[in-house]
């Protein structure tokens, strides 16, 4: 039972990071019907910038408490990621807005390669250690262990999601976003500046990815230029699982996928009699994706079927 609770906690931690990343996919998809393939690499940029800020803080302002360091790192990573994502939108997607679907996807892959290569040139090829800022003393909850970093991550993720919901449901900008997602042309006729809305969507997605990136580094203590690809892909799977285009779906899908993954990795060995082991963890997301697409392509929360030709 203890292992079960432990796996659930691990799943929640992993899932809340997936949810943060998935929100970026789903919001862009909701407005533009486009998969921002480079989103995982925005996460990587967030982690890298965060690490650079932490290194600078260590030299110029040593002795700050770990929480403060981490918050400063996130506060620096967020604008950096926003800038990167807005540039991506401007260069790779804006001119292809009405092009066939294949075109922006291919430029997105190109942008993803470029981001990774730039990161490799700036931060090097080998994985970098991410400093452990918070006490590594774990906290016991019902027989399972959770680290302070993981607790902070859960809190931050919850906070960010609440803030996002308020933004989307209660503000003028949120209403403009929902209107553009519904029908860009009519929204435009009603006086919504669709370019503005799209840039805001990319910015919000990037901010969430930056938080996820820094916390990913803090949680796993190691980051590398190619780190964004797999979380990005899995978060996309999470967004589809929840119903792409729907922000609540992305949250639920992300957390669900995290739990599926960690339970799956924990129990696959027992289930298959030792034939498959926990190193197959990475296949669950894709298996889930294929099952969802076969049975219910609109996902858990999605209303309309994604197939609009």
């Amino acid at each position: 039972m203890d292992t079960f609770i432990q796996q659930i906690i691990n799943g929640l931690v992993l899932g809340s990071m997936y949810a943060l990343i998935a929100l970026g996919y789903t919001m862009v998809y909701g407005v533009l019907n486009l998969i921002n393939f480079a989103h995982g690499d925005v996460l990587m940029i967030g982690a890298m910038v965060g690490l650079t800020i932490l290194t600078l803080l260590e030299t110029f302002a040593p002795g700050l408490p770990g929480y403060v360091d981490l918050f400063i790192a996130i506060a620096g990573a967020v604008p950096a990621c926003i800038l990167v994502n807005i540039i991506i939108e401007r260069i790779a997607y804006r001119r292809l807005r009405n092009a066939p679907r294949l075109a922006p996807l291919i430029t997105a892959i190109g942008v993803s390669i470029l981001l990774q290569t730039f990161a490799m040139m700036i931060w090097g090829r080998s994985p970098l250690p991410f400093p452990q800022l918070l006490s590594t003393e774990p906290i016991m909850i019902g027989g399972a262990l959770i680290s302070q970093t993981q607790l902070l991550l859960l809190a931050l993720a919850a906070l960010a999601m609440v803030a996002l919901v308020v933004l989307v449901e209660k503000t003028r900008m949120g209403r403009a976003m929902r209107a553009t997602a519904e029908n860009p042309r009519v929204a435009g006729l009603m006086g919504v500046d669709s370019n503005m809305v799209i840039v805001a969507t990319f910015a919000i997605g990037a901010a969430l990815a930056a938080i996820a990136g820094v916390m990913w580094g803090a949680n796993y203590a190691s980051i590398a230029f190619a780190m964004g690809t797999l979380p990005g892909l899995k978060a996309f799977c999470a967004a589809v699982l929840g119903g792409i285009g729907n922000i609540y779906g992305a949250m639920i899908g992300g957390i669900l996928l995290g739990i599926i993954e960690s339970l799956g990795a924990g129990y696959i060995g027992d289930l298959t009699g030792g034939f498959l082991g926990s190193h197959y963890q990475d296949i669950f997301a894709f298996v889930v994706l294929i099952i969802v697409l076969t049975i219910r392509p609109s996902g858990i929360m999605g209303e309309r079927v994604a197939d609009r030709a």
């Binding site: 066939p100 430029t107 490799m120 860009p184 042309r185 799977c237 994706l289 030709a309």
Partner: protein
């Protein structure tokens, strides 16, 4: 007016003459290149393999408009089929089965006989190639079936995930039953043997292939084999393009709903594109495995899938000569960078500022972005407008105001 002209329909005489000139050039080419060292011919051999892959992917991406980001997985399937059925690996597989489940293992050992238990299976290339093609094609259909009724961008992600899954399995299927030998890969794969001529050269011949009185280096022999295969694939794909099926693919690419309304069974036709493309990938994979004599999961990373896609996009989506040009350009690029750009940097800056490997990645990324933005039909687009992929969507109501 180009010097070489391949317009068979309007100027058949010139077209066939150009083809003959090209063929002679291609036949003489390795002997010229070999003057500069066999390693150059080897590079060209690899380039030909990439062209086979790019032509296969062109069926999927170019003709049918389905973006496949895990194409290298089919290449991997072909390579590993060869690894399993043309190397000592099968002996290791049987041994691991005996250890895992003695009754099953011993039953298999009894069926297979002592020779296979000792040496593994060594099928001839005439069997390996069809098996690789069929199995890769089945994998393609298997992957396509649940996703093809969905929108294209989902397909892209699923194929990408599939590529990753295949790689994870290649890395881990060595325990408890050893199919793939894990990260170490499979060694000692048989070289290709055609009509009793070993293309790697007989033992003790220093990799010289002797046919009658004529002898040439092994890499040249592989060059001719790969060239023949490439020509065969070019022939098949260009006939396919103008067949009923090819027209159906283009119709689906341009407007799936209209295609459906015209009575095309879109799901089956797309599935066919997918599995045909996959089977070309499988054949190329089998050739790769026999050529290298060794396969490991490292050769089948996402980067390779993207490299093949970049070839198709750069050259001209859906245009066979363009795709070939894209393949040649991008396959030769790393070598050019290594031999030209690195020394140039040494001369100018006194050190290598940007490694050729990094530069290659940068150029791949830039090529994808710039081509899509500025020349969506590629560097060498199809002369006929209707053969090119659409430049921009027609208004469908939910588009953005310009």
């Amino acid at each position: 007016m180009a010097i070489l002209n391949f317009d068979v329909q309007n100027q058949p005489r010139q077209a066939y003459a150009s083809m003959a000139v090209l063929l002679v050039g291609l036949l003489v080419f390795p002997f010229v290149a070999a003057q500069f060292g066999n390693s150059w011919v080897r590079i060209i051999d690899i380039a030909l393999l990439y062209i086979m892959l790019a032509l296969g992917l062109n069926i999927v991406v170019g003709f049918a408009g389905l973006l496949d980001l895990g194409y290298i997985a089919f290449f991997a399937v072909g390579a590993y089929i060869t690894g399993l059925f043309a190397s000592p690996q099968f002996a290791a597989l049987l041994e691991s089965i005996v250890n895992y489940s003695p009754w099953l293992g011993n039953a298999l050992v009894a069926i297979m006989g002592p020779d296979i238990v000792q040496n593994g299976i060594h099928l001839s290339v005439w069997l390996i190639v069809p098996i690789a093609a069929v199995v890769a094609g089945l994998f393609g259909a298997l992957l396509g079936a649940p996703t093809l009724k969905l929108r294209g961008d989902y397909l892209a992600i699923v194929t990408l995930g599939f590529g990753e899954i295949i790689r994870i399995f290649m890395n881990n299927l060595n325990d408890p039953i050893n199919f793939t030998n894990g990260p170490q890969g499979i060694n000692g794969i048989d070289p290709i043997r055609i009509f009793n001529v070993n293309l790697a050269g007989e033992a003790g011949s220093r990799a010289n292939v002797v046919i009658g009185d004529f002898s040439m280096p092994s890499v040249n022999a592989y060059y001719f084999l790969f060239l023949a295969l490439c020509i065969a694939i070019v022939f098949v794909t260009s006939r396919l393009q103008h067949s009923r099926l090819g027209r159906a693919w283009v119709a689906i690419r341009e407007d799936e709903i209209a295609a459906k309304a015209m009575g095309i069974n879109t799901r089956n036709v797309k599935l066919l594109a997918f599995s045909m493309g996959a089977s070309f990938g499988g054949v190329a994979g089998a050739m790769f495995a026999s050529f290298q004599g060794f396969v490991s999961p490292e050769s089948f990373s996402l980067t390779e899938s993207i490299a093949v896609l970049a070839m198709v996009v750069l050259g001209g989506i859906g245009h066979i000569p363009g795709v070939i040009m894209g393949g040649v350009l991008l396959a030769a690029l790393p070598e050019v960078l290594r031999h030209v750009v690195e020394p140039a940097q040494m001369a100018i800056f006194g050190q290598v500022v940007i490694e050729s490997e990094v530069l290659r990645q940068l150029l791949y990324g830039l090529a994808l972005v710039l081509i899509m933005l500025n020349r969506p039909a590629g560097l060498w687009p199809s002369p006929k407008h209707e053969d090119r992929p659409q430049a921009a969507d027609t208004n469908k109501g939910d588009t953005f105001p310009a």
